[in-house]
Amino acid sequence: MLKVAIVGCGKIADSHAAQINRIQGVELVGVCDREELMAKQLHDRFSVKGYFSDLTELIHEAHPDVVHITTPPQSHFEIAKQCLLQGCHVYVEKPFTLDAIEAEKLIQLAEQKALKITVGHDDQFRHAARRMRSLVAGGYLGGSPLHMESYYGYEFGELGYASGLLRDEQHWVRRLPGKLLHNVISHGIARIAEFFTTATPLVISHGFVSPLLRRMGERQLVDEVRVIVSEEERVTAYFTFSSQMRPALHQFRVYGPKNGLVLDQDNETLIKLRGGRYPSYMEQFVPPLNFARQYAGNFLENLRLFLACDFHPKAGMKFLIESFYQSIVKSGPVPIPYREILLTSRIMDTIFEQIDRRALDGSEELDSMPSFTKSPH
C-alpha cells in the first residue's frame, strides 16, 4: 500500500484527494495545512486517516511515501525540499517553483536522494493529449516536430478570484515573479517544452496589459502575451496567452515534415492534418468529409469514454498521479521528464524577464529583446 499525503488544503487539494481515492493500492494517510480548520475540512470530506497543521508532524506521524504539494507557488520550493530531505517522493502542483534555479535544485536533490518528483501538468495527460503523444511517437508527423502553436486562453469571470485579483493590490498572485502569467501559463508552455530538445532555445516575447484591463485602471497585470520560441532555427513554436480573444482557446498544434495535428483541449478532440494533397477538385471535397469523419470519431470516442466511466473532468490528473505512483513502485521512468520541467521553467523565466524589462524600459520595440533561456546551472 502506497501512503500518500497532501500539503495545502485549498481548492486544488479537493481534486487531488478525489483522484487519489480513486486509485487502487493507495491510502491517503494525512492532510496538512497551516490553518488547521482547512486541514480538518478536507479530512472530514474525504476518507483520510489524519490531519495536521505542521509538516514535520505530518511526515513523522503519518509516514507518507509520497507528498502532494498544493500550496501557493511561493512555498513549493521549501516544502518540496523538506519532503525530499525526509525521504518522500513529491508531486508539486503547477507552477513547479518560482524560477528555474529552484526547479534545478529540487530535481538535483531528488536525484541525489534517489527519490522521484513531478509537476502537476495534468492537462498533458487527458485522453486526446495522450492520443496525440502516441501518434507523434508513432511517426505520424513524418519526423520530429518542426513547428508548434500553443494557445492558452483565459477568462476573467465576473466574480470570485479574478475580480478579487483585479481589485486587490496585495493579492498573492501579484507577488509572483510572473504575476498572473506565472500562475496560469505553465500548461501551455509545457506542451511546447515537451518537443524541444535543446536546454536553451531562443525566446522572443511581447506582452502587454489589455485595453480592457487598462480601462479598469490596471497597469501591472500583463494579460496578453505572444511568444516565439526557436531552437537553432530548426524547431520553432508560437505561444499565445490571451484574456481577450474569443473563444478562449486551449489548443495545441504541431506540424512535422509530413503531417500535422490539432489538439483541442476544451472540446477534447484531436484532428489529423494530412500533409498530402488530393488531385484537382478533390482537394475541396474530400478533406471536408475527412474532417467531418474525424470529428464524428472524436465524438464517439468521448461518448465511449463517458460510458466506460473514464471521462471525469480530472481524468488527466488521475492518469498523471497513477503514472507517477507506478514510476515509484516499479522504479520506472517518471511521467514528465525532468528536462521538460526545467525547460518549462526556463522559458517562463525568460518570458517574465523580457516583459518586465519592457515595462521598465517602456520600450515598444519587439525585435530589440530576443534572448536565450539561461543555460542550466
Binding site: C9, G10, K11, A13, D14, A18, R22, E35, L37, M38, Q41, L42, D44, R45, L159, G160, S163, G164, L165, L166, R167, D168, E169, Q170, H171, F306, C309, F311, H312
Partner: protein
C-alpha cells in the same frame, strides 16, 4: 412597517460601537442603512479591499448624517485584521461569507475560518455584548421534522453536509457548529439568524427552489411549494433586531416574509413582469427520482457527474414545506417593512432594469 424595541429593552445604546462584516454586500449594505435610520451613530463597516463599496459609500453619504461611520478594509482571514476590527466593539453583525462559491475550500475559508478569526478577535478585547451570526435555511436537512411539513427553528440541521454536494451549505453548517462551540466553551453571547432566500434589488436571480435553467429550457421544480422568500429590507430588519433585543442570547431565528408566493405564482409573475422564457414543470415525484438517479450515478461513476443533485438536496430545495416567522415576531417584535406584493414589484422592476443594462 418596522419592528420597534423600547430603548430599555436594547442591549446597547446608540453611541456604542457596532461592527458589520460583509458591509459592502447585498444584505450588509441594507443593514447599515437600517442601523443609521434607527439612529445608531457609531458604526464600523468591514469590507475587503476588493469589495465594490460604491453602494455602501452612497448609503453612508445619504443616511450617515452626524453618525461616525468608519469603513475599514481588510480580510477576515487575517487574525490581525479581525483583532483590529473587533476593538471596542459591543455588537457584531457578521454577514461576511463565501457566497456563490462552488469550491468547498473557498466557501469554507470565507465562512468558517473567517468566523473563527472574528470571534477570537472579539474575545481578545472583552467588550462584546452580542455576536449575530448569519446562517441560512440551507443548513436544515428538512427530514425527520417534528411538525411534519412545517420548517421552524427546532428542525434538525444536516448531519452530513459533506454528502449534500453543496459547498455553501457545508460551510454554513460548519459555521453554525463553530458558533455553538464558542458559545458553549467561551460563553460568546451569540445569536444565529437563518434567512430563507433573500431577494430584492441587488440579487436579481431566480432561486433554485423555483427551478433550474438547463440547455435553454427552465425546469420548474417548485410547483405549488411556497418559496421561503424574504425581501432584503425585511431580512436586514430581522438581523438588526436580533442584535439589539435583550434576552435572546443563544436563540436561532428563521427569517421569511408573510404571504409567501408559491413557486408557480412566482414564475408566472416573473414571466409577466420581467421576461418570457420556455419552462417545463417537473412533478415532485419525477424530480425526486431524477435526484436519486443522479446521486446514484455520481457515486457509481466516482464523480464523473458532480454530486450536485441528490435526495438530500431535493429535501432542502424542492420538498413541499411550510415556513413560519412566528418566533421572529413573538421574540423580536419583527414586522416586515415591505409586503411580499410590494417586494415582488420592486424585485421585478430591478430585474427588468438589470436586463436592460446587461
Amino acid at each position: 412597517m418596522k419592528g420597534t424595541i423600547l430603548p430599555e429593552k436594547m442591549i446597547i445604546c446608540p453611541e456604542d460601537l457596532i461592527l458589520v462584516t460583509g458591509a459592502a454586500g447585498f444584505i450588509g449594505s441594507k443593514l447599515v442603512e437600517i442601523l443609521l435610520e434607527r439612529g445608531f451613530r457609531n458604526l464600523r463597516c468591514f469590507a475587503r479591499p476588493s469589495s465594490n463599496s460604491a453602494k455602501l459609500k452612497s448609503i453612508v453619504q445619504r443616511c450617515g448624517g452626524a453618525a461616525r461611520v468608519e469603513i475599514i478594509t481588510g480580510n477576515l482571514l487575517s487574525r490581525e485584521d479581525c483583532i483590529a476590527a473587533a476593538k471596542d466593539v459591543t455588537l457584531v453583525y457578521h454577514l461576511a461569507a463565501g457566497r456563490g462559491q462552488k469550491m468547498y475550500a473557498d466557501a469554507y475559508m470565507n465562512s468558517v475560518v473567517t468566523t473563527r478569526n472574528l470571534i477570537e478577535g472579539c474575545l481578545h478585547h472583552h467588550s462584546l455584548r452580542r455576536f449575530v451570526s448569519i446562517s441560512s435555511f440551507s443548513v436544515y436537512s428538512n427530514t425527520g421534522k417534528p411538525g411534519g411539513r412545517l420548517l421552524d427553528e427546532s428542525c434538525p440541521v444536516e448531519q452530513h453536509p459533506e454528502l449534500r454536494g453543496d459547498a455553501y451549505a457545508f460551510a454554513k453548517v460548519k459555521q453554525d457548529e463553530l458558533v455553538a462551540h464558542y458559545r458553549k466553551k467561551f460563553g460568546v453571547p451569540a445569536v444565529i439568524v437563518r434567512p430563507g432566500y433573500v431577494y430584492g434589488p441587488g440579487n436579481e436571480g431566480i432561486t433554485g427552489r423555483v427551478g433550474i435553467g438547463t440547455f435553454g429550457i427552465f425546469l420548474h421544480l417548485g410547483g405549488s411549494n411556497r418559496i421561503p422568500l424574504t425581501f432584503v429590507d425585511n431580512c436586514a430588519e430581522a438581523i438588526v433586531l436580533a442584535g439589539l433585543k435583550q434576552g435572546v442570547d443563544g436563540e436561532i431565528f428563521n427569517v421569511v416574509d408573510d404571504d409567501l408566493p408559491s413557486s408557480r405564482e412566482f414564475l408566472r409573475l416573473y414571466k409577466r413582469h420581467v421576461r418570457r422564457f420556455p419552462s417545463v414543470y417537473l412533478p415532485h415525484m419525477l424530480s425526486y427520482l431524477l435526484c436519486y438517479l443522479w446521486e446514484k450515478y455520481s457515486q457509481w461513476s466516482e464523480g464523473q457527474l458532480p454530486p450536485v443533485y441528490s435526495r438530500k438536496e431535493w429535501h432542502t430545495a424542492w420538498k413541499p414545506t411550510r415556513y413560519t416567522n412566528e418566533k421572529l415576531k413573538s421574540l423580536l417584535g419583527w414586522m416586515p417593512r415591505v409586503s411580499s406584493r410590494e417586494g415582488l414589484c420592486r424585485f421585478f422592476e430591478s430585474c427588468k432594469q438589470k436586463g436592460r443594462h446587461a
